[in-house]
Assembly symmetry: C2
Homo-oligomer: 390 residues x 2
């Protein structure tokens, strides 16, 4: 996959990941880029998240430096200084101002960064910057992910959007635990970039749940450097809609890739809720169902246990009529009006053996719908998370 | 264990549990008893829960009939009729009015009760009623539990309180998925019984969490028949406090027994939160931490991953200062002011190898505390819940 024009990237192995492998990435634009971002809603935010959030206020950046292996979260005042030092080192290497370099981290919480290692890694990454460095950059941000996550879209006029992400666990709605970096050479202005990202979030990164745990380090950052040339795209421009739609597609594909690669997951589960009073209620219902550990265990075992869907829904706080719920699993209506439905349980069970699974809930209250992607809960997830820091 | 005076119980194997074993219990008082109860906060309530909730309004009952193997939840209008028929059959067998017989069920959701089997079981249980039938009754309500759960307290004047419970999974704060039946021959009036139960709940059944999933079938029922004799205990009576305290003790022991026997659990985890602004906030913080799948995996692996405590706390919605949190795991202060603390990680790791584990959080906001009991999340939990209905 090629980076958009004017961007270069690199990924190096500097020693921050205890298991080895690429663990430091640098993405740099050769000219100032418009920047937008969204960061975790967790009250406990990692030092790089706090720094990046502040830097984003300028609406402009030249690049981002990111490491895996250490989240630089819950590291106190030193953590803030370390994040600043990472940004400064990367800015120096990219010959730009330190306030133009965004910083992100992922990995273990509560352990001070080894800054000697990080700064050497940044220098090495700067030396390796190249327009073909996307794959190394994408690999350098992974933790327990098993696959590289990249998505791209082409725009009229030769511009493109390329995004990379990491996920794996601590993925909850209203911010997945994940990092996502998107670069585009489309000449979009700040309002278009920000509004496009805002539009893309609800149906992508805020519509996935792996384990209901929200991280301290999440961020989605977008840089638009305009290297493709052409007139600046403003909100009034018809091209703004096309850009927003393309960005939404890239975000949705990366979000799905995160769920597909969820820790220990064997299935991608689409939870679709229809018939809610409004979209917010639909989303809340879908998220509550997606967060049910019991349901996700049942799906892992290919057990079409629709009772667990109702049990979860009943804890959502939504004042629905408990006698009016319909549930389909694997296309079979197993629950009609909150009682056993006409669907074939055997066929539903067969459908649950597939990699793609759908649970659909009809609330019979109104016309709003929402979809949340999650996956099944396996013994492997437990094993991974029991052993992660040991 | 002996039942209080005037009570008889029985448990029989009638065939409602697909795996066999005792699955129908009957508890009857030889005279009218004062009755109080608390049922699930889940919006989706099982048919027996709806029936029992209604019957409790009279404040009086002669007994309770309960089955395992089928929850009679999400079974529509027929489910209500079936619950009524169970109560009527049990009332007939105990020669009392049908409105005097409470009904409870646990087991699979969304499958109609086999009423032929249930009614034959009720007749058999009625034939077997005896003052020594407590253990069989306690066994008949178990599902994936591995141990019988009984607790008792003696009161001045020769009266006693005896309770039994079942738990295992779908255990969340603000009502565990569980059944609990308590009998006492103390001559307490309705206000004392109700207020004592209300007082006992927050620190017992509403302070435990196994998997954050709230069931459709929970109930805690208390019958007081006064068979021990003596003057009726009213709220003004000093003995009312002693009764409330004894009931609290019985509830707390049963609640702990449920957590100790949580599905797949290898540890009992006490989450204690201090320094909250008020008890409600403290409880919310403790519950949020206790519900973190990631933290519970870490504890299973004896990994003192305090960062996951902060990450969970940050999603609680409590407006705390993210720089002021202290965390102790296994008595070691691993986090001070939201950064690595002076405690010894190695010693914390050793402490986590024990069966009893404590995680303590100091929020440094106020003087309120709360404690929630939970357990670790093991691969065995996933296995049990992937295979439960198959």
């Amino acid at each position: 996959m090629k980076l958009p024009g004017g961007f270069a990237a690199a990924g190096v192995a500097c020693g921050l990941k205890s298991r080895g492998g690429l663990d430091l990435g640098l993405l740099v634009s050769d000219r100032p880029a418009t920047a937008a971002g969204v960061v975790t809603g967790n009250r406990v935010k990692a030092a790089p998240v706090l720094l990046t959030k502040r830097l984003l206020r300028t609406g402009s950046a030249r690049g981002v430096v990111v490491n895996a292996g250490n989240a630089n979260a819950c590291t106190g005042r030193q953590g803030i200084l370390d994040a600043q030092q990472m940004g400064a080192a990367a800015a120096r290497a990219a010959t730009t101002h330190r306030r133009q370099m965004l910083v992100a981290s992922t990995g273990i919480i509560g352990v001070p960064m080894d800054m000697g290692v990080a700064v050497r890694g940044i220098a090495a990454a700067a030396d390796g910057l190249s327009p073909g460095g996307l794959d190394d950059f994408a690999d350098a941000i992974l933790t327990t992910d098993t696959t590289r996550k990249v998505a791209a879209a082409s725009l009229d006029g030769g511009a493109s959007i390329v995004g990379v992400a990491k996920g794996a666990a601590m993925i909850a709605p209203e911010m997945a635990t994940m990092l996502c970096f998107i670069a585009t050479d489309a000449p979009v202005d700040r309002t278009v970039l920000t509004s496009s990202l805002t539009t893309a979030m609800p149906d992508s990164f805020n519509a996935i749940s792996v384990d209901g745990c929200m991280s301290t380090n999440d961020c989605v950052l977008v840089l638009a450097n305009g290297a493709a040339g052409g007139e600046s795209i403003t909100l009034e421009d018809a091209r703004a809609d096309a850009f927003a739609e393309a960005l939404r597609g890239v975000c949705a594909r990366l979000a799905r890739a995160i769920v597909e690669d969820g820790e220990g997951a064997t299935k991608v589960v689409t939870i679709r809720v229809d018939g809610a009073v409004n979209p917010k209620e639909a989303k809340r219902a879908a998220s509550t169902v997606a967060s049910s550990v019991l349901l996700r265990c049942a799906l892992h075992g290919a057990d079409p246990n629709w009772g667990r869907v109702l049990a979860a829904l009943g804890t959502s706080g939504i004042p629905f009529d408990p006698n009016l719920i319909d549930v389909w699993i694997g296309g079979e209506q197993l629950c009609a009006r909150s009682a056993p439905g006409p669907g074939d349980g055997g066929r539903a069970r067969l459908a649950l053996l597939e990699r793609e699974v759908e649970v659909r809930v009809e609330m019979n209250r109104g016309g709003a719908s929402a979809t949340v992607l999650t996956n099944d809960l396996s013994a492997e997830y437990v094993r991974l998370n029991a052993e992660y820091t040991t």
